[in-house]
């Protein structure tokens, strides 16, 4: 079906997509149209701006402080207290060079994703894999239409010549699934396979002997980067 010259239907589908009543196959088809149709994405974004403020009609409630503590732990942020030290300009900041370096990375990342979404519109899943200091190292974009997974190492990884980087989808139960080898200096396109799914708990990159892990059941080397999918839209 061609949606392009059906303004009323486009409007109705976008609205019901955002409201949530568009379900199942119709919802998936609509997401398919979104990939190749910038105007439809705009219409959908407009409906999001219209309807999503409904969320505010629920009663506001401050979350328990353990929620922030968990976020801080997972992202490796510095503890918040004593808070004033973070922006006292006269205090020495060991973290400043780090923050500066990562802001460059973040800019590259933003640029990359913006370009990608122009060329191959609307990846429906994105993931940023970070190192143990929560610095972004890899960007993954999944295109379910083409069943392709694009992996980019941000800023280049320092991998010895006799080693490879291997990407894994780690399920909640059972052995990690290899998604393929990652080029430490550029882009690589992999088959999407079973990279996305309800059972995927984590995406991870391990350092392996050249050609990948000899162990069919999972990584044999250390995990360097990890992260998870975020559904866009």
């Amino acid at each position: 079906m061609n949606l392009r010259d059906k303004p009323v239907l486009r409007e109705k589908l976008a609205a019901e997509y955002v409201l949530g009543t568009l379900k199942g196959g119709a919802r998936r088809r609509f997401e398919g149209y979104l990939h190749g149709d910038a105007a439809l994405r705009r219409t959908t974004a407009e409906w999001q701006d219209r309807l999503v403020p409904l969320a505010e009609f629920a009663r506001s409630q401050p979350p328990h402080r353990r929620v922030w503590a968990g976020i801080e732990r997972r992202l490796g942020l510095r503890p918040a207290a004593p808070a004033w030290q973070f922006w006292r300009s006269d205090a020495p900041h060991a973290w400043r060079p780090l923050a500066l370096a990562s802001s460059v990375v973040a800019l590259v990342l933003a640029g990359l994703l913006a370009t990608q979404s122009l060329q191959t519109p609307q990846h429906d899943y994105l993931a940023t894999l970070t190192d143990d200091k929560a610095q972004p190292a890899l960007v993954l974009a999944a295109d379910r239409d083409k069943q392709l997974l694009t992996v980019r190492v941000v800023g280049g990884a320092d991998v010895p010549a006799d080693k490879s980087l291997q990407l894994w989808a780690v399920p909640k139960a059972g052995a990690p699934r290899s998604l393929g080898l990652v080029d430490p200096n550029g882009d690589v396109k992999l088959a999407l396979g079973r990279a996305i799914g309800d059972d995927v708990a984590l995406l991870a990159v391990s350092l392996e002997p050249k050609g990948g892990s000899r162990d069919p059941n999972g990584p044999s080397g250390p995990i360097l980067y990890k992260g998870n999918w975020v559904r866009t839209l």
Partner: protein
Amino acid sequence: MALHRSHSQHTDKVIVPDTSIPDPQQLRAWLAGAARRDAPAFRALYDATSPKLFGFALRILNRRDLAEDVLQESFVAIWNNAGNYQGHLAAPMTWMTTIVRNKAFDALRRADQATEIDGEPFAADVANALHDPAATPIEALQLSRDAKALAHCMSALEGLHRQVVGLAFFHDLSHSEVAAQMALPIGTVKTWIRRSLEKLKLCLAQQERP
């Protein structure tokens, strides 16, 4: 630094009160900060928005533990994807709320339990204002400008139509599930939703004009 004003007190106790409606420009600045890996800006963003977002997740899930997990996952995603936020496409609060909503619906499906759906998806004061704006003025509600405009337009809908829209939005229901919940024919629900959405669009467009 004005940007981090909410941190000038001891942070453990800082909970931005409901009375502060985050200004979209300020939220944008904090999001840009998060994209630059500026942890204090991210904390300020959390302080300003988490009560609203948590209240929303709790409304969907009806369970505090699940709502806390969802809020945590959402802010991890917000930090990791702040550089990917496209300001020209969505307001910052819309972008963050959509992340929370998707994660809450995922959690709902994972929990695989029949969540309790009560009739009224809105907070009591909001419901009162929607029902009778003359008695409970919408202007007095603790809502952002966008949400107040939407509240005005929602109050112009018939009560049952409003209910149907609210049920669908907060509980991830299909037409037939809404119909079952409200004991209405599915055709009626479809028509009401279509008309309500058309009216809301028209009404919101009029509100934007001075």
